[in-house]
């Protein structure tokens, strides 16, 4: 289980418990947290679940794979610390992680 805080572009914070094995995108969409669309349901086909990850957490995440890299490459608001939350699977190690959403996913 990981306690994950999602921060909207306007600063509103949402903290939820994400079971191990569930992606950060799935948990956010299921809870209706604004700012993460996840239009494709996690198929890595839409790039509408981008989040910014603080430096100290980046190293704990799995490497960016080719598919994710490709999708990120087309995200208008991509920064160096951008990840697709559909590729981030919750684990005890990610307990306490804070991620920030862009102003818009489109």
């Amino acid at each position: 289980m990981a306690k994950v805080t999602y921060i909207e572009d306007n600063g509103t914070e949402h903290t939820i418990d994400v079971p191990n094995g569930t992606t950060l995108m799935e948990a956010a969409v299921k809870q209706g947290i604004p700012g993460i669309d996840g239009d494709c349901g996690g198929a890595c086909a839409c790039a509408t679940c981008m989040v910014y990850v603080p430096e100290e957490w980046l190293g704990k995440l799995p490497e960016v794979e080719t598919m994710e890299e490709t999708m990120l490459d087309f995200c208008e608001r991509r920064e160096d610390n951008s990840r697709l939350s559909c590729q981030l699977v919750a684990s005890d190690e990610l307990d306490g992680i804070r991620v920030k959403m862009p102003e818009s996913q489109h």
């Binding site: 914070e13 949402h14 903290t15 939820i16 418990d17 569930t22 799935e26 969409v29 299921k30 809870q31 209706g32 947290i33 604004p34 669309d37 239009d39 494709c40 349901g41 198929a43 890595c44 086909a45 839409c46 790039a47 598919m67 490709t70 999708m71 490459d73 087309f74």
Partner: protein, 433 residues
């Protein structure tokens, strides 16, 4: 747990008295009722609250489940790789926090527009202020002799998947009727499970309705490489067996022995409720770009609608998640008093084996299909469909960059040079020149 929607109190039983022009008092319900509980409905709930609608929302679905994702049903869910918890769209908490009254397993049988109420199959009635019809679609059935035999299945909902899975054991014989996306996805999952699969298709190639022959022949090759038998030009004329199916027979006089059958020959929009209520229906419930039906108090969203699309210049009826989500947003905005027109390039996807097919746009009426990559010897390529030089659609197999780029180019109806599309030394981002 953070509360996303409790910005103000929601009144579930709000009734207000309004005076109409003749001065008579009339009870007016604020309630927004959503009929149908799929992807469009779940999105509409979220968007109604996000747009600031604070009145009562009631959600009706005839399945015993809360809204769930359908695309995985013919993919990972059928394969048993993910369970219900991973296809469920929203958590139970979500509906509680959004203060939505949910009625699962409840079919709406009539919309009484005169008295602004809906009637349900269990004999209850609910007043409404506004309605969203998100009734979706159902499978097209194959009415041939033997259609009622055990072992003949369709794939539309969770119960269908459970029935199909009950036949999954190595060496079992399955016939798939219909070489469309659903049929081919089911074939791929079953083949991986060691099932002996035969796909029967009426046309002379699979996916004939939606892709160029180049793509059809690619999928036929891959399925054959994976051990699936594909027979085209076959018209199914009947199912044989005593109680259980034992063979599929064709009009061409052949017999295909099998233990079970999955029929995937398309879907039909659920428009009866709307038609019986006198709403305009023509290949879907007719809506405008704001998802309004011919009754301004009633919106419709998702598979069940026929909607205008300015990019293609004609009406579309789409069977896709993207369409359901975007129309769910638009319908919610309209009923919350905002105007957010829906006018986008559609997109779809299909997963088979290690192939991720991503589709942008609609290729109907294309004048030229230009190939980037090698569909004959590899499993990665894209086909660009041009109509008089302008990009109208792309099928991208394991080609995410082509998919993402063509989403933008199709929206702009970009004129492309076929030579630049074919030239892989040109980065796809530079393809438009």
């Amino acid at each position: 747990m953070t509360n996303n929607y409790r910005n103000g109190p929601f009144h579930i039983e709000t009734i207000r008295i309004e005076m109409n022009s003749t001065g008579q008092g009339r009870k007016m319900a604020d309630d927004i009722l959503i009929i149908g509980a799929g992807q469009a409905a779940a999105q509409a709930v979220q968007s109604l609250r996000a747009e600031g609608f604070e009145g009562p929302i009631r959600l009706f679905g005839d399945e015993p489940y809360a809204p769930y994702q359908r695309p995985p049903l013919s993919k990972k869910f059928l394969a048993g790789e993910i369970g219900y918890d991973r296809v469920e769209l929203k958590s139970q908490d979500f509906y509680e926090q959004a203060n939505v009254e949910t009625h699962w397993g409840t079919r709406v049988t009539e919309i009484d527009r005169k008295n602004k109420r809906v009637l349900t199959g269990d004999g209850r009635e609910f007043p409404y202020g506004k309605l969203i019809l998100a009734t979706g679609s159902r499978v097209r059935e194959l009415n041939v002799p033997g259609f009622e035999l055990e072992g003949v299945h369709y794939l539309r909902n969770i119960e269908d998947v459970k029935s199909i899975q009950s036949h999954f054991r190595e060496g079992a014989k399955m016939v798939v009727v219909g070489g469309g996306y659903i049929g081919l996805e089911v074939a791929a999952v079953a083949a991986k499970r060691g099932i002996d699969v035969t796909v029967l298709e009426t046309a002379d190639r699979v996916l004939a309705r939606v892709v160029d022959p180049i793509v059809s022949h690619f999928y036929e090759r891959v399925h054959r490489e994976e051990g699936v038998k594909i027979e085209t030009g076959v018209t199914v004329s009947g199912f044989e067996g005593k109680d259980r199916i034992t063979a599929v027979t064709s009009g061409e006089g052949k017999s295909y022995p099998c233990d079970f059958v999955v029929v995937g020959i398309g879907i039909i929009p659920n428009t009866e409720l709307a038609a019986e209520a006198g709403l305009e229906v023509s290949n879907g419930i007719v809506v405008d770009e704001f998802c309004r039906t011919s009754d301004p108090d009633i919106c419709a969203a998702g598979d069940c609608t026929s909607h205008p699309n300015a990019i293609y210049g004609h009406r579309l009826r789409l069977e896709s998640v993207h369409n359901a989500i975007e129309q769910g947003k638009t319908a919610a905005a309209t009923l919350a008093g905002k105007e957010k027109p829906y006018n986008q390039v559609p997109w779809f996807w299909s997963d088979q084996y290690d192939l991720k097919l991503q589709i942008v746009g609609l290729s109907q009426g294309y004048t030229e299909a230009v190939v980037r990559g090698d569909p004959e010897n590899t499993r990665s390529f894209a086909v660009f469909y041009l109509k008089d030089g302008a990009l109208v659609a792309v099928d991208a197999v394991n080609r995410a960059p082509e998919f993402m780029m063509s989403k933008m180019l199709t929206q702009k109806k970009a004129k492309l040079d076929p030579a630049r599309i074919r030239d892989e030394s040109i980065n796809v981002k530079e393809i438009a020149g």
